[in-house]
Subunit: 352 residues, 3 copies
């Protein structure tokens, strides 16, 4: 499938600067793009790559200041436009309606006839799989679990019993939805057999709402009672841990290796950068942002950006970090004051 | 299955305040509980939910001060009692003794006739699977591995060759027991082919003792030589990494995303909060607690609570953090002293 | 298989001190070694174990100062020598050339006749599996993916469509190569249906070069466009996240639970200790080392060791940490200066 550059510009509401009749055969990164490839440039770190690129045309922001001589597709929100063009070249996989003979679909399961179930996928009793949904090899949909329409569950995904996955969800390989939450009570007597950690039944479920994507090997635990919920349109990266009874608001962005402890609630559009950890029973307000690796022990008001460990408002965190960087100097200034005091004179020590 | 509230109170040694003849049909969280549901309340954060709850009865501590008019089940160690009641309503899954025709059990494997092996589970040569143990789809028990009685291995769990899992263990989906430890020696010559990292054979095993639970996608590496051991009754959350030759004492609690480096030994009842990291070859004393995200580079004495990075005793850590929070003010006070010194007079700068 | 100690010494270029005719039947750790076992000693933490050991012989460095009376194999780079001897006792697994009848190999796949495909492994259309490569149960090699010669892919590994794994690679259980990168653009209008995160097609691939090992449940995402690359001879531990378009130079060492964000490039021989996190679009120079749990927001020059959060050169980090430990004292010294100033006399406050 190929497109004229002018067609692509029309589709995304942009403007061609140069040859609109250029036939685009691929999208490609700046470094490897050739004369019939469309590329993308915004991050100034890659300016040299832009200048050296062999790309036939490049998608850029309308106001980008660039040397003349290169064919450009100028468009507002350039990366979104580029992504939409890339989707034209790389449309999502279409299901091939079929239950592979080596799959194990329980007779009491409901698999929509337009769905695709690959070899060694397993659908339990009373489970439901929606229209056009694709189950890759090794997927296990537990008893009474429901997976909606137009989903892709990659290899070895497990949706445990009674859990719910909405429509248009993508679960990358190895995702686990509905493992038992980590709930134990210390039992000092253990009914006579000595101390033990008594397992609290994890009798709830996990619900993944529509349009959610979850990254490889991430885990969404089922609730102790009630539901753990990943809200509509949220996007979750790899190796993330969402504990029992966590509530993720719609449109959250949760980067790799984040851990959210039990019963914490994230508002709408919350952003958690990589490796962030949140304690349990917290409220994170709408559109709050947590910077990478921060450790959160408090509620966070809506719209704020916090960082550090323990997490605090970004401005305060940055100021405190800057002061830390100058602690050596501060220590020397105190020493100078002490010396001056000892000497009994009042010469100013050098400062800053 | 339903119970009279008075029956439940008798079973856990508690006392009903209100109508003991109330028939309880479910356990439920405060927010969603109805008139025939039993709920639980302890954390003051949820007081409003308690007050607004439609629960028929609520389990609370004997001494909890609560407004009158609500039916209560007062009992010591209320959460343990609630958990035991919840278990009555949600008894553990019973195995259906069967080897699914789509399972692959090696002719030289020993699977107890009361065990359940689901489709696409695989049991290797000379492997053993104990009485009433359940293997979910995609479970792989390697050659000569042993899994005890009354275990549940959820989907896609892998117990590699020769490793041992005790009785009454629960391995959540995706758990890996016995992957090779991360052992390489830098080999500058590489037998003439240039530098390489030479793989040290990971010839030992991993042993998971009785009554252990391990969370989804967690990893317990096999030992280089000898055994990695997860001690009896320990509970491990999701996405945890236990490296080769680690020893976890009995009754440990290890929260999500913790990493323990090679050969480190955790004593009995150690608690590691979320995302803690431990260096290798350390000794963590009995009942020591590590606070969330701490980074541990030293041995830790029994019974102590440490936090921070690098980890230090909690009191010291908190004091140092508090001082950090006041660094801005300290910096200003030094500036004031300098100005005073420069001006040659001795007026006291304002302080604290 | 057994060896004379003198044979072993000859093979690794070492020297026996004691009885070279000793027949060695096993390698074993100091604590459990018996009279026909060879053990290893270097770390002074284990000196007591060395002294108490029942090992028939112990491999040590040539210059190690040790009490007489014990049979030693003295050799330069003793741990490498011990590892090579251990490999004699624990040679790598040989494939049994066979495609299990319960495997699902697509008719258009190319599986080398010397390869071994175990039950419930799945090889997609046009995929290639090289000579002597072993696919454990539950492995899924996607359409058009290529796995080279002499690889071992343990249970439930997934190499997604079009991705490439070189020769002599070891992928521990649950590894995911080629999951979609985490790429979304905020789309405020969502074509009329309200705000959403628009999925950027992840149309590239992931390439794992020769001699790479990847630990259990680790993830190497495919590129947005182009390739994510894990360079030749690199070794990666468990639960590691390598994001889209990351480039890992040859011979890197990446410890457990590290996360590398998109498009970051690691030079040759880089070492990332456990739980390190790197921001995106960074350049980490050859042989740079990042200490455990550090959080990296900047490029790092070749050969340097950085630590802390945010990461900074190790010396600076250690100095700043030391100053932090003395902040309490500094605070007291400032107080003393203030008091002295207030009192109008010039006695030196005690310092350090």
């Amino acid at each position: 499938m190929t497109f004229l550059l002018s067609e692509l510009a029309a589709r995304v509401g942009g403007e061609v600067q140069g040859d609109g009749a250029l036939r685009i055969e691929r999208v490609a990164p700046l470094e490897s793009a050739g004369p019939s490839d469309l590329s993308f440039f915004a991050n100034p770190r890659y300016r040299a790559a832009f200048e050296a690129s062999g790309a036939g045309a490049v998608v850029v922001e309308p106001e980008a200041t660039l040397p003349p001589g290169r064919t450009l597709l100028r468009v507002k929100n350039a990366y979104l436009a580029f992504a939409r063009i890339s989707t034209l070249f790389h449309p999502p996989r279409e299901p091939v309606p079929e239950i592979a003979p080596q799959a194990a679909v329980h007779p009491a399961a409901h698999v929509h006839p337009s769905a695709q179930v690959m070899p060694f996928a397993c659908v339990g009793p009373a489970a439901e799989v929606g229209a056009r949904t694709i189950l890759f090899p090794g997927v296990v949909v537990g008893a009474e679990a429901r997976v909606g329409d137009d989903c892709v569950l990659y290899a070895n995904v497990n949706v445990r019993e009674r859990c719910v996955v909405g429509h248009r969800c993508i679960l990358q390989p190895g995702v686990v939805v509905g493992a038992d939450g980590f709930g134990f009570v210390f039992d000092p007597l253990g009914e006579g057999s000595g101390p033990r950690h008594y397992k609290v039944p994890q009798a709830g479920i996990a619900v993944v709402e529509d349009d959610v994507e979850i990254g490889a090997n991430s885990c969404v635990d089922r609730a102790t009672l009630g539901s753990t919920v990943v809200g509509r349109g949220s996007k979750i990266d790899n190796l993330v841990q969402l504990a029992h009874n966590v509530q993720v608001g719609p449109l959250a962005i949760i980067c790799a290796q984040v851990g959210v402890s039990g019963s914490t609630r994230l508002g709408q559009g919350v952003v958690l950068a990589g490796q962030v950890g949140l304690a349990g029973h917290l409220q994170i307000g709408d559109r709050a942002t947590l910077l990478a690796q921060s450790g959160v022990m408090n509620d966070i008001p809506a719209g704020e950006t916090w960082g550090g460990y323990p997490a605090r408002p970004q401005r305060r965190w940055l100021r405190e970090e800057a002061l830390l960087r100058r602690l050596d100097e501060l220590s020397k200034r105190v020493r100078a004051l002490e010396k001056a005091a000892a000497a009994g004179h009042t010469d100013t020590p050098e400062s800053e």
